[in-house]
């Protein structure tokens, strides 16, 4: 393999630092915004329309905690792999291995659900003769074209994401103002759709059960940290981009709920795959409908694009530390991307796009997400204990510690219970999978890992060791 290179000291290649705060926003919001276009509404299915709104804000609190905690840790540990590198420096190698798997699972399954969403959306217009073959063709194109874009370089990838994410977000705003939100009864009929009888059809248990899908309003915002190694000034750009992203999403989620809840009976809202597109249809304005069609597709593309970026970075980091064969840690000398990891994940994504349906793919993604947030709550406690304030320079220090961590932890426990209500077997299967992988790593794979080399930050020794 190496025969063609002259035998000098091997030239160094690394990822390139080219991104600014706008790209961080585009990566975070790009991944998540599709949640407004599909997925969040399944919370209405599990608990009713009012539950979906309560959840939107409670889970918003969970994610504000995530964003605050994440900003502090990541502005200090800025490496590709994001939370993976954090776990490695703060908790330990096995935790890091698991975190990387959470990331790869969460993002790959999110990418899969995006591909399915694009195909389903098109199918709703294409009619009966749009068979499985055509459906799969759209899914394959979404995954492969975006993978190729990612392969060619991160700057172009995230520039594209910035543009399409912005369009998809503006579409929600335009829809909001076109339905005259100030005059209920003209187009919006919140009082008719949500009545005291149907607001919480399953009572408060339904609200808890809905937490599961509430995650989908925001899942992936923490993905901004994956870009850490490619951002020009991570200590500043990452907190800024992540917080700006969180604000964008809170606004987007509230507007989306208001418009959709005012237009659809809750049973329909809970079962549709594209609530915002349906909202566009229900305005009976063709321009709005087509705008929402395009925006739905664009939001899914932006999300899949960001997911490919993030999943590949996490997989790449695993190879770099030899947690997986180091073959995966190759960087393309010209495009400066983790090209082998990008290619490796393509067939896996395509396979699942062909065999699963959208809410199953989303559930897989959510499960890994919640395991990940549980880790984050404990991680920040350990971070503050091992390196108290003042012992190292932090780019950002989050306020009210340990309140956000405690809130995050409690909400995670509630969400496990919520997933259990309806998806218990799937949750148990996932946990068993992670247990098996952990045993495999701890007792077998870890022998190939260099010990001291894993700790790469120029920090002092942690307290208590």
């Amino acid at each position: 393999m190496s025969s063609t290179t002259v035998n000098e000291a091997p030239q160094k290649v690394s990822l390139s630092r080219v991104l600014g705060p706008g790209h961080v926003w585009a990566l975070g919001v790009g991944i998540v915004l599709v949640g407004e276009y599909t997925g969040w509404n399944f919370a209405a299915d599990k608990g009713g329309t009012l539950a979906a709104m309560i959840i939107c804000w409670v889970i918003g609190l969970l994610y504000t905690s995530v964003a605050m905690i994440d900003s502090e840790v990541t502005s200090t540990v800025a490496a590709a792999g994001g939370q993976y590198a954090q776990a490695k420096h703060i908790v330990g190698p096995l935790m890091a291995f698991n975190v990387a798997l959470y990331l790869v699972f969460a993002y790959t399954m999110l990418e899969v659900s995006n591909a399915i969403l694009v195909a389903d959306t098109i199918k709703s217009y294409a009619g009966e003769d749009f068979t499985y073959w055509y459906h799969s063709g759209i899914e394959a194109a979404v995954i492969v074209v975006l993978a190729a874009l990612n392969y060619r370089g991160v700057l172009m990838t995230l520039n594209v994401n910035f543009v399409i994410t912005a369009i998809a977000f503006i579409a929600i705003i335009i829809l909001f103002f076109s339905v005259q939100p100030w005059s209920q009864g003209a187009i919006l009929k919140l009082g008719d759709m949500v009545t005291p009888e149907n607001a919480l059809p399953y009572g408060w248990l339904g609200v808890i059960a809905g937490f599961h899908w509430g995650i989908w309003y925001y899942l992936g915002i923490e993905g901004t940290t994956q870009a850490a190694e490619e951002v020009r000034s991570p200590a500043r750009s990452l907190p800024y981009g992540t917080m700006a992203g969180m604000i964008t999403l809170l606004v987007g989620a509230s507007i989306t709920w208001y418009v959709c809840a005012s237009l659809m009976p809750w049973q329909y809202l809970g079962s549709t795959v594209y609530p915002l597109l349906d909202a566009g249809r229900l305005t009976e304005n063709k321009t709005l409908e087509y705008m929402m069609f395009i925006a739905t597709v664009l939001s899914a593309l932006a999300s899949a694009n960001g997911c490919i970026n993030d999943a590949a970075r996490a997989w790449f980091s695993l190879g770099r530390d030899r947690y997986l064969p180091s073959w995966f840690s190759a960087v393309h000398p010209k495009y400066r991307t983790p090209y082998r990891s990008i290619i490796f994940l393509v067939p896996i994504a395509i396979a699942f796009a062909f065999i699963s349906d959208i809410n199953q793919a989303i559930t897989f993604s959510i499960l890994s997400g919640v395991l990940h947030y549980t880790f984050m709550a404990i991680n920040i406690m350990m971070f503050r204990k091992k390196w108290p304030l003042g012992s190292i320079r932090r780019g950002y220090t989050h306020p009210f510690h340990p309140l956000p961590a405690i809130v995050l932890f409690i909400l995670c426990v509630v969400t496990y219970f919520a997933i259990f209500l309806g998806y218990g077997a799937q949750l148990t299967a996932m946990v068993v999978f992670y247990i098996i992988m952990s045993l495999w790593f701890h007792f077998y794979r870890y022998q190939y890992v260099k010990r001291g080399d894993q700790f790469t930050m120029p920090w002092p020794k942690p307290q208590g060791y």
Partner: protein, 126 residues
Amino acid sequence: MAKYTPPQQDKTLQWVDIIVVVLAIFAALWLPLKMGWAGNSKVLEKIDNPTWETLGQTAAQVAQWNKLGYADAAAAHDIIQNKWDYTINWTQLIILAVALIGYFVFLFRASDKEYREVIDEKFNGK
């Protein structure tokens, strides 16, 4: 403390590792789909000859159903009457709780053991 030198991993073994991981991923994701474990606690509460009234829809709601392409109550019946069954299966809940807690306990304890080696080699081994 002596620096730990990992053994060289054979090319073939590297491939075996990759295949193991891929197989595990497929087993974890595909098996629940195949076995129909995913989201299976919904029950269709059938109503014979449904009307919009028996389905509990008001006139304003019916207007929206019509605009969405559901011309009569029968068409919307399956969506409206497909309900969640939130009866808690305590055995299953306890199994899940034990698995989850056991997983996290093992995760943090084993990580800590490995972490101590890392810190030892990085900071004390000099």
